[in-house]
């Protein structure tokens, strides 16, 4: 009941807390407070795009203190009631201290323990694939079968369905409820085909509102990871809280996050980093999350593998992983698509920085920025996993050296990235086999990553 009580306290606060409009929150309160905190903690212009992976531990510690300060000053905004859920220092300290440093999911041969890491920690992080990229429904099973046929992939999250039995998947309708149920059957079939019965999942990916979640989350063997995503950074809404109650009742592990945008409401890289840290810290008392992880995207290209994106994510991750033993995750958002060199270079950049900075867990890829239907194949997932796991023990200095070598090769294309090719163009769908040219290219890019100093674990299929 303790977990339920926590969500009830949040719900109570949405009714009784001070009112502000969303416009005031977005345009005045968040940017001004974040800017004040950056200044007060002496963090102005500390972002160094020439060294995208932060190597200054003391600076990361200062960001942690600033993020903590910001969390207490801001709280979360609830758009449903236009109220601000404030958290005091006693609540934040208590819930942060109680946050888990590990949890275990999966059954049979698929048991996975998600365990906190520190920067340059040799303990291998957990890799989950793919993000919720939209796919034709007839491609769901072969795609997932292909993705999870490599044991580099520890768990499954996406993709998301385009249609359900040929019908449009309309938000906020019973179609979404059915989408959750339909996804359950497809997921089960795909994991069985790949011999991965018992594999854990992060759910529900085809329905963004609470309907699919309420309709289907209970169908799975528990515990699983519950996707209780926030509407935006520093915000929580009733949709999220609906899901949290159900997740708690089923003893699931709550994954809660929403991206902060560099250049958006939160401001520049420094202010965005502390907003990201504050968003993560506030998840503990507000949603009871086990696995928070507010990533940061650059508003100029809606990804995070360029210099400012890498820097912001690395400092925010290190702030948490140096100052606690909580679990930390952030997603890596590539903008180029499958079978493009840029995609693989973005992956090296984002995943190396993430692993070396101490991330526990990540979910990827976001090939083609997640915006082009069917532009996702198993090979991108396996490459992401190999870099993320292989880079785990690298020093921050080495990670920075690698990222500095790679970023200049693609940063000029971030605003107009190549979308690459679709699953149907690159794979024989019936046999779930990639075309020879793509396998050759994939293996070349693995060799390139190795030449940079990243030990690349084998995928068990082609290497």
């Amino acid at each position: 009941m303790d977990a339920h009580k926590k969500i009830l306290r949040t719900l109570d606060k949405t009714r009784t807390s001070p009112r502000v409009t969303e416009k005031e929150w977005d345009q005045m309160i968040v940017p001004r407070t974040a800017a004040e905190v950056v200044k007060a903690h002496g963090l102005t212009k500390t972002c160094n795009p020439d060294n995208p992976v932060n190597t200054d531990g003391e600076l990361a510690d200062k960001f942690f203190k600033a993020g903590w300060d910001l969390a207490l000053r801001l709280g979360f905004f609830c758009p449903d009631t236009e109220s601000v859920i404030k958290i005091d220092e006693e609540e934040l300290s208590r819930e942060f201290a109680k946050a888990p440093d590990s949890f275990t999911v999966g059954k049979h041969n698929e048991v996975v323990t998600v365990k906190a890491r520190r920067p340059s920690d040799g303990h291998v992080p957990v890799y989950v694939a793919p993000l919720s990229i939209q796919m034709n429904e007839e491609l769901y099973v072969p795609l997932v079968e292909g993705i999870v046929s490599s044991r580099l992939v520890d768990m499954q999250e996406g993709p998301s369905l385009d249609t359900i039995m040929g019908r449009p998947l309309l938000a906020d309708t019973p179609y979404e409820t059915f989408a959750g149920i339909y996804e359950y059957h497809l997921r089960k079939e795909a994991q069985w085909r790949a011999g991965r019965v018992g594999m854990a999942s992060a759910l529900v990916s085809s329905s963004s509102t609470h309907f699919g979640f309420l309709g289907a989350f209970h169908l799975y063997d528990q515990p699983q990871i519950a996707l209780c995503l926030n509407p935006a950074s520093l915000k929580v809404n009733f949709t999220t809280l609906h899901k949290c109650f159900v997740a708690n009742e089923l003893n699931a592990f709550i994954r809660s996050e929403s991206p902060t945008m560099i250049g958006g409401y939160t401001g520049g890289p420094e202010a965005t980093a502390i907003c990201s840290i504050a968003t993560d810290l506030l998840q503990y008392p507000i949603t009871g999350a086990h696995l928070p992880g507010s990533p940061s995207y650059d508003i100029r290209y809606a990804g995070n593998c360029g210099r400012h994106g890498i820097w912001t994510q690395s400092i925010a991750t290190q702030a948490i992983t140096r100052n606690s033993t909580v679990l930390q995750m952030k997603t890596i958002n590539q903008v180029a698509g499958p079978f493009t060199k840029m995609f693989f270079l973005e992956t090296i950049s984002g995943m190396t920085a993430a692993a070396a900075s101490g991330q526990t867990f990540t979910i990827s890829p976001r090939s083609a920025g997640g915006s082009v239907k069917n532009h996702l194949t198993p090979l991108e997932c396996w490459y992401n996993a190999a870099v993320f796991k292989g880079a785990a023990g690298l020093s921050l200095e080495k990670a920075n050296e690698i990222v500095k070598e790679v970023i200049p090769q693609f940063e000029g294309e971030l605003n107009n990235p190549p979308k690459g090719k679709s699953f149907q163009e690159l794979y024989d769908i019936k046999t779930v086999t990639p075309c020879e040219e793509y396998v050759k290219f994939y293996l070349e890019m693995r060799e390139y990553a190795k030449s940079l100093g990243i030990p690349m674990p084998g995928d068990g299929v082609f290497c």
């Binding site: 969303e22 977005d26 345009q27 005045m28 940017p31 758009p79 939209q134 998301s160 385009d162 449009p168 998947l169 309309l170 938000a171 906020d172 979404e176 989408a179 085809s206 329905s207 963004s208 509102t209 509407p231 935006a232 809404n237 949709t239 945008m261 560099i262 250049g263 958006g264 409401y265 939160t266 401001g267 520049g268 890289p269 508003i299 100029r300 809606a302 400012h308 920025g369 997640g370 915006s371 082009v372 239907k373 107009n416």
Partner: protein, 224 residues
């Protein structure tokens, strides 16, 4: 004298001080500064600086939005003083995020870019139903309905809106433009939208182009 007040106006616009922009605009008109100069030298110059500084991460979205509000204020005051040939108002746009989708940054960025480039904007927020789009468009007499969606489960409401306009015999009244993460030009064209833009900046060119055409008379995509 006019140079001095226009410089002050430019700075107030850059800082997004809407009230001060209002006062200075009135003052400039009283001093006989040409309305088009007020718009160009007091407003547009500042907005161009902001656009450049935004791309270089010197200013951020909140500053752009405040400047958008300030530009709206300037235009409200100056408009009655413009002659027919001077009229710079490009059109009226209603903008919102489709039902089921609470993402607002992309939509707000587009609204701001349109506002600072002379469009009259009515931002009706996120999670907007088709009925709300249609009702508000009618009430406000807009030229363009702009629908944003980051979620694939919400993008269907774009098609729904266009279909409803057709069914109700109103397709010729409004241009409908669509955009957002999963939206691509082929989809936009297939559902019968008038236009699509990949970026907020491109949306300004798109809307200007559409204002020269009749709604439903051909698809325009700005995909750069």
């Amino acid at each position: 004298m006019s140079e001095e007040i226009l410089k002050k106006l430019e700075e107030a616009m850059y800082d997004g001080e809407a009230d001060l922009v209002g006062t200075l605009t009135e003052q400039a008109l009283n001093e006989g500064v040409a309305p088009t100069d007020i718009i160009e030298k007091g407003g547009i110059v500042a907005l161009d600086r902001l656009g450049k500084d935004f791309s270089e991460m010197i200013v951020f979205l909140p500053q752009l939005m405040l400047a958008g509000d300030a530009m709206n204020k300037l235009l409200q005051i100056v408009k009655p003083h413009l002659s027919e040939k001077d009229n710079i108002a490009h059109g009226k746009v209603i903008i919102g995020t489709a039902k089921g989708d609470f993402h607002d940054i992309g939509k707000s960025l587009v609204a701001t870019q349109l506002a600072v480039n002379g469009f009259e904007i009515m931002d009706i927020g996120t999670n907007v139903s088709t009925n709300e789009f249609l009702q508000k468009a009618e009430e406000m007499g807009v030229d363009i309905i702009a629908i944003s969606s980051l979620l694939t489960t919400s993008q269907y409401y774009m098609e729904d809106c266009i279909k409803r306009l057709k069914d109700e015999g109103k397709r010729g009244k409004y241009h409908v433009i669509v955009g957002g993460g999963p939206i691509r030009p082929p989809y936009a064209e297939q559902i019968g939208a008038d236009g699509y833009s990949r970026t907020a900046y491109g949306c300004v060119s798109l809307c200007k182009e559409l204002m020269k055409k009749e709604p439903g008379s051909g698809f325009v995509a700005i995909d750069e």
